[in-house]
């Protein structure tokens, strides 16, 4: 797919795209400060006043992490079907069409090859603004293909997750994407290629309970909601208020579930750093001489 097509913007409104109201100015949802929109965008969608991390469009995320002009998209060749002929208030096909129109891609994901501070990586970025980043067959397939291609090409695997979970409209096939994405990571492990997973706001449900939390290194963005079950579901189950900061990145760091909470402005540097450090400095073990070590 041509790069121009992929970066094309033909949206009537930017409203949902950066999770903030249209207009030149907006009020920060965290600190209530009046922010000039251009400043927010220039500051990688972080409030210049309080550091609150807004949800970020996929294109901006790629620009943040990939070296200039290095990104070559892999995804976009496949599109979803409607295996269940699913209809709730609206048919699934209509929801898909609306999301495709709004986001300009076939589904909630972009994958591709890139250089990250000069290091070859496969970059996987989920699009929360496409049906809440839900994982159906296409998202699962694109992730699996990217992991396999990264394995073949000897690239590290970097996944930026943002998802409401498995896509209900594809039923049990969506559930199976949890297993599909997980098994597709096996090649990376066999070839000792690093997998860095970055959990961004929000990462929940079937995505959290599959490939997203299987990174060798797991980073989370400040304030990101990261959960298996959503806060409302839990509240309904236990019928009491949830503790302050429950299921947020900082809480999970404290509970030992992520390697670190990393400010978006430092993210590229931190990923590059661990990718460098994970390159083994010991020689490859040779077959047949293992017994020497046992002496």
């Amino acid at each position: 797919m041509a790069l121009e097509r992929w970066f094309r913007r033909n949206r009537p409104t930017k409203k949902e795209d950066d999770n903030s109201p249209a207009g030149l100015w907006l009020k920060c949802e965290s600190c209530n400060a009046q922010i000039y929109r251009k400043d927010l965008v220039a500051n990688t969608y972080i409030c210049p006043e309080c550091g609150h991390h807004y949800r970020m469009p996929v294109e901006a995320r790629i620009a943040l992490l990939a070296d200039d002009d290095s990104f070559v998209p892999w995804s976009g060749d496949i599109e979803p079907l409607d295996p269940l002929e699913f209809v709730d208030a609206k048919p699934y096909t209509e929801r898909l069409e609306a999301a495709r129109e709004k986001q300009g891609r076939p589904d909630a994901i972009v994958t591709g090859a890139a250089l990250l501070s000069g290091q070859p990586v496969a970059l996987v970025v989920m699009d929360f603004f496409f049906m809440a980043g839900s994982m159906g067959s296409v998202v699962g397939e694109e992730i699996a293909r990217a992991a396999e291609r990264a394995t073949d090409e000897g690239r590290a695997f970097v996944a930026i997750t943002a998802s409401g979970g498995a896509r209900m409209q594809e039923g049990a096939l969506s559930l199976m994407q949890m297993a599909k994405t997980t098994v597709a990571l096996e090649g990376l492990a066999r070839k000792h290629l690093p997998y860095v997973s970055v959990l961004t706001d929000p990462t929940t449900g079937g995505v959290t309970a599959s490939f997203a939390t299987l990174g060798d290194i797991i980073f989370a963005e400040p304030g990101a909601l990261i959960s298996f079950a959503g806060p409302r579901v839990i509240q309904q189950t236990i019928r009491q208020d949830l503790p302050e900061g429950f299921q947020r990145a900082e809480f999970l760091l404290q509970k030992g579930m992520v390697d670190d909470v990393v400010d978006r402005r430092a993210l590229k540097g931190r990923i590059a750093e661990v990718l460098m450090l994970l390159r083994g400095s010991l020689p490859e073990p040779e077959k047949g001489v293992a017994s020497v070590a046992a002496v």
């Binding site: 067959s137 209900m168 096939l173 199976m176 309970a209 939390t213 079950a229 839990i234």
Partner: protein, 317 residues
């Protein structure tokens, strides 16, 4: 206790009972009448169970009296030895694990367990596991690999528990790890959905070489109630959600999510427990025999290909 659509069957059964009692009392021969009614009863049962709506199958999958994991372990397997604990935080009663014999061979078994009464349901947390349960399952996968024993998992859960402690202890992390660990098994693995296959909490022990499902069991990405609450904004629309989600054994066979449907005896498993458990046992013995000749590499590869190939999409025009 019968399900609402089973009432005509109950009434006919009562009628046959009454007629038998009356014939005995009056010492008259009603044999041909009873036989005719019996024929009608079988016809009614077949008609009823062949034509259940998806929502009715959800009721059957959750029916009181339907054999649970422990029932299978005690009746379809021999010499079950329960092994407790995750060697980390505790022992989760919602997942029962251990060693047993099946058709003369040793196997590792992992079974999700709902309660058979209110007291047990509370003890078992309604079959909803905490992270500890999945850690225990992963310990069993290690054991199976080490001693080269096949793994059998029996799936029956509304889902992994959505609670405070479960989240704090990394519910999502252990489910992901369990999926990964099970996919890496170097021994044969067979899963059977015996009741309710509730989302990731079910899949965590469902990454098998062969995935079987009982005729009236269900397997779904989300419960019909939760799906209805989100998409219809009303949990009361669960019936519609059950239809839309296509969660029955037949649906899942068509989607390729399961490999084999085990037929239940006429009148469903909760009314014919022993016969149902025997059918599952025979199916498991057959499946294990088919997998036994495969090498560890072949087993890994077949499991990889099975799950790698699932999905529905097309090339962009």
């Amino acid at each position: 206790m019968s399900l609402p659509f089973e009432r005509p069957i109950d009434e006919l059964e009562a009628k046959i009972r009454d007629m038998r009692a009356y014939a005995g009392q009056q010492e008259i021969d009603l044999g041909s009448e009873i036989e005719a009614l019996q024929g009608r009863l079988d016809g009614l049962k077949r008609e009823t169970y062949d034509n259940l709506t998806r929502w009715q199958r959800v009721q059957v999958a959750r029916a009181p009296g339907r054999p649970t994991g422990l029932d299978y372990l005690q009746h379809a397997f021999e010499g079950f030895v329960e092994l407790h604990g995750d060697r980390n935080l505790g022992d989760d009663p919602a997942i029962v694990t251990g060693l047993a014999r099946l058709g003369g061979s040793s196997v590792v078994v992992i079974a999700q367990q709902k309660g058979r009464d209110t007291k047990e349901n509370i003890h078992r947390n309604f079959g909803m596991s905490h992270p500890s349960g999945y850690r225990k399952a992963m310990r069993m996968f290690d054991l199976a690999d080490k001693f080269r024993l096949p793994v059998i998992s029996l799936i029956d859960t509304p889902g992994a528990y959505p609670g405070l402690a479960a989240e704090e202890q990394g519910q999502a992390w252990v489910i992901a790890e369990s999926i990964q660990r099970m996919a890496r098994l170097k021994v044969p693995a067979v899963s059977v959905v015996i009741g309710e296959g509730g989302s990731g909490g079910a899949l965590a022990i469902g990454v098998a070489n062969r995935v079987l499902i009982l005729e009236n069991a269900i397997y779904s990405v989300i419960s019909p109630e939760s799906c209805a609450a989100i998409l219809w904004r009303d949990a009361g629309e669960a019936e519609k959600a059950a239809e839309a989600l296509r969660i029955t054994a037949r649906d899942l066979m068509a989607l390729g999510v399961v490999d084999r449907v085990i037929a239940e005896p006429l009148g469903a498993a909760h009314n014919n427990r022993d016969a149902a458990m025997e059918l599952v046992k025979q199916a498991l013995i057959e499946e294990l025999a088919l997998l036994a000749p495969l090498t560890p590499e072949q087993l890994l590869d077949s499991r990889y290909r099975r799950f790698r190939s699932l999905g529905s999409f097309q090339a962009v025009a």
